[in-house]
């Protein structure tokens, strides 16, 4: 009897998925066509020639240095988006990717700054990754624990924890971890060269983070599709009541989904810190957590599509930099383009 209950809940979401798949691609096409048109209209209102602007944007993507930046950012975004996608499969909303990334970077920095001049680089990196993932998982686990014990909604608690994480980082770099030899804005001491993520080409910017991200992407895809755990997550996310009646222990499952999500976000923090930033500084959080949240929704929490969505949003975000130089529009203007793409995608009629 329990088996039937599980089987029924499993079959129904699958049929829904198949239907979404067909209209989903159309949405992508419409979104990708409509969004630039709307954003172009805004740009024209600002006195910027939209056609010239898009020509510049595309040209900048063809520039190898810029294309490398897209890959670097996509790596972080993929991890940030997976951090949302895994809990979402179980019906949980992790809006706290930003905080989990920050706290992951802080943990990585804490370990890295202690060990980078004493231990071999590879070992330091491994320890940093462990610390970052543990910290991210703990930060997300806090929200999951509150959800499961005292029923504090995880969307709100993860959101609040974002701000606390950022304050912790700022508090550390304005005092105990402050680099005495730094100038101007306070920051932590830079990480030793040996403990940084290896680069693919000398002089390039693409680091091993993209490998970590792709491994995580494959791992999550496999785990959700082929493991008992992934199956159970889907059941809980599809119909928690049926899952409970079928004898699944919902609490530990939810906790595990959130912990995995947090660990992935923590890993994103490591990639950002040890791959690009090398030191903690105010403003190093560039909204990856929030954009990752949107990327996951854009992909309807399907791991492989998450990869595509993250790449797309990374490219749009990178376009912001060149926009600033070429058209004089502030980089954040690109948020408009990103938002319109997402509105078209989210606005499917259900």
């Amino acid at each position: 009897m329990t088996d039937t209950a599980v089987a029924t809940t499993d079959v129904r979401p699958e049929t829904v998925d198949n239907r979404q798949k067909n209209t989903g691609w159309l949405r992508w096409v419409v979104g990708i066509a409509a969004a630039p048109a709307i954003f172009g209209a805004f740009a024209a209102a600002k006195g910027v020639n939209p056609l010239a602007m898009y020509a510049d944007l595309l040209a900048s993507l063809a520039d190898p240095a810029q294309a490398q930046t897209v890959v670097v950012r996509a790596a972080i975004l993929i991890l940030a988006a997976l951090a949302v996608a895994v809990p979402a499969r179980a019906g949980l909303l992790n809006v706290g990717g930003e905080g989990q990334i920050v706290i992951g970077a802080v943990a990585a920095a804490g370990v890295g700054l202690v060990a980078d001049q004493r231990l071999p680089g590879g070992l330091v990196l491994a320890l940093m990754a462990l610390a970052a993932m543990a910290a991210g998982a703990a930060w997300a686990g806090l929200a999951a624990g509150l959800r499961l014990t005292v029923k504090v909604n995880e969307a709100i608690s993860t959101l609040l924890l974002n701000f606390i994480a950022i304050d912790i980082m700022l508090g550390l770099i304005y005092d105990p971890w402050k680099d005495a030899s730094g100038f101007g804005q306070p920051s932590s001491r830079p990480l030793a060269d040996t403990a940084r993520l290896p680069l693919f080409t000398t002089g390039g910017t693409v680091n091993a983070g993209i490998v970590l991200a792709l491994l995580a992407l494959g791992g999550v895809w496999w785990a959700l599709r082929y493991t008992e755990w992934g199956f159970r997550l889907r059941v809980v996310g599809g119909n928690p009541e049926a899952a409970r009646r079928a004898g699944l222990r919902v609490g530990p499952l939810l906790l595990s989904a959130m912990l995995v999500g947090g660990a992935l976000a923590g890993l994103a923090g490591l990639v950002h810190f040890a791959g690009t930033e090398f030191k903690l500084r105010p403003g190093m959080t560039t909204g990856f957590g929030y954009v990752g949240f949107l990327a996951s929704w854009l992909a309807m929490h399907r791991p492989l599509r998450v990869g595509l969505a993250a790449l797309l949003l990374a490219a749009i975000a990178m376009g912001g930099d060149s926009l600033q130089i070429d058209s004089g529009l502030p980089a954040a203007s690109l948020n408009v383009l990103m938002a319109v793409v997402l509105l078209v995608m989210l606005g499917r009629k259900r």
Binding site: P13, V16, Q20, F42, A43, K46, A88, G91, L92, L93, V95, L146, V150, K151, V152, N153, A155, I156, S157, L159, L160, L161, F163, I164, D167, I168, L170, G171, Y174, D175, V236, G237, G238, N239, P240, Y290, F293, L294, W297, M300, H301, L329, P330, A331, A332, S333, L334, N335, V336, L337, M338, A339, V340, L342, L343, L346, G347, R348, K349, R350
Partner: protein
């Protein structure tokens, strides 16, 4: 007196949050959560600043700010109510839209001077020791917010109109059997909430900071959303919460001005910690006092 300074600063700095929180209370009472409140505050702040700069009249600015905030909230309302999009995801997208639009159109106003709202000490009342400087020596928008919170309370809990709004949040099916459209009520509540958030943003740019800069709301809209839960969807309780946040914001500059070397960021994190602590302590009771339509959002509903 540091105490008076902090409290007065709490009222001054909390006012923008209060407007947004009251607006969000209205929207959530009708059953829609709007994480885009932050975006409405941003667009409100810019529109108010720009119009104040062009016309020289901050009241015209506030009007523009309210309209801008309401317009952005209307996008959220359309997505959620007419297109069936997920509320939490759409809220964040709307925030991005607001952040992007204000960055795009606000660059021209960075560093521009305006004639902002001036503090207007209320005669007699402002002279009361302690109470006077804390409550009665502010700009007019602060005084308006004093009236707004009780007005919203009265509207929600004592008027016919309030019953309709709350029914939209609790039992939309019942509402429609009485001939009202829950969707229309929710539209109005969300847009109304956006109007108020826009005024909150306007207070920031034309009375508090007297400046416009990118992303100047710095998370106040999110604080407002959390505050609504903290206040158990009650307008009067939101007042205390908003001033608590405001006071926490005012505490570190007040301490620093007196030479106390406090770690500012511990203090900055305080409001969020207090909110989480309150949510823990009040836990289940708060969730139970959520509008029914919302607790469904908060519950383990399938995400697709």
């Amino acid at each position: 007196m540091i105490f008076v300074d902090v409290l007065a600063g709490g009222v001054r700095g909390g006012t923008a949050i209060l407007y947004a929180a009251l607006g969000e209370t209205l929207a959530e009472r009708a059953g829609v959560i709007n994480l885009g409140t932050e975006g409405s505050m941003l667009t409100g702040a810019l529109a108010a600043y720009a119009v104040t700069a062009e016309t020289g009249n901050p009241w015209a600015g506030v009007l523009a700010g309210a309209l801008a905030g309401g317009l952005l909230a209307a996008v959220h309302a359309f997505m959620v109510l007419s297109r069936g999009a997920n509320q939490l995801a759409t809220g964040l997208v709307v925030l991005f839209l607001g952040a992007g639009l204000t960055a795009m159109f606000g660059a021209a106003y960075v560093g521009q001077a305006i004639s902002p709202f001036q503090p207007y000490p209320i005669p007699v009342l402002a002279d009361i020791p302690w109470l006077g400087p804390v409550l009665f020596d502010h700009d007019p928008l602060v005084y308006v917010s004093y009236l707004l919170a009780p007005a919203l309370w009265w509207l929600l809990f004592r008027s016919r109109w309030g019953i309709v709004v709350r029914a939209a949040g609790e039992r939309p099916e019942v509402l429609s059997t009485y001939g009202h459209s829950p969707v229309l009520v929710r539209y109005l509540a969300v847009v109304g909430g956006g109007l108020l958030a826009g005024i909150g943003g306007a207070h920031l740019s034309t009375a508090y900071a007297n400046a416009w800069f990118e992303n100047m709301t710095a998370g106040r809209g999110f604080i407002a959303v959390a505050l609504v839960i903290f206040a158990a969807w009650h307008p009067l309780r939101a007042v205390g919460g908003a001033y608590l946040f405001g006071a926490a914001l005012a505490l570190s500059p007040a301490l620093q001005a007196r030479g106390y070397g406090f770690n500012q960021f511990v203090l900055d994190a305080l409001p969020y910690l207090v909110t989480i602590a309150a949510l823990i302590v009040l836990g289940r009771r708060r969730v139970n006092s959520a509008p029914e339509g919302l607790s469904r959002v908060f519950d383990l509903t399938p995400t697709r």
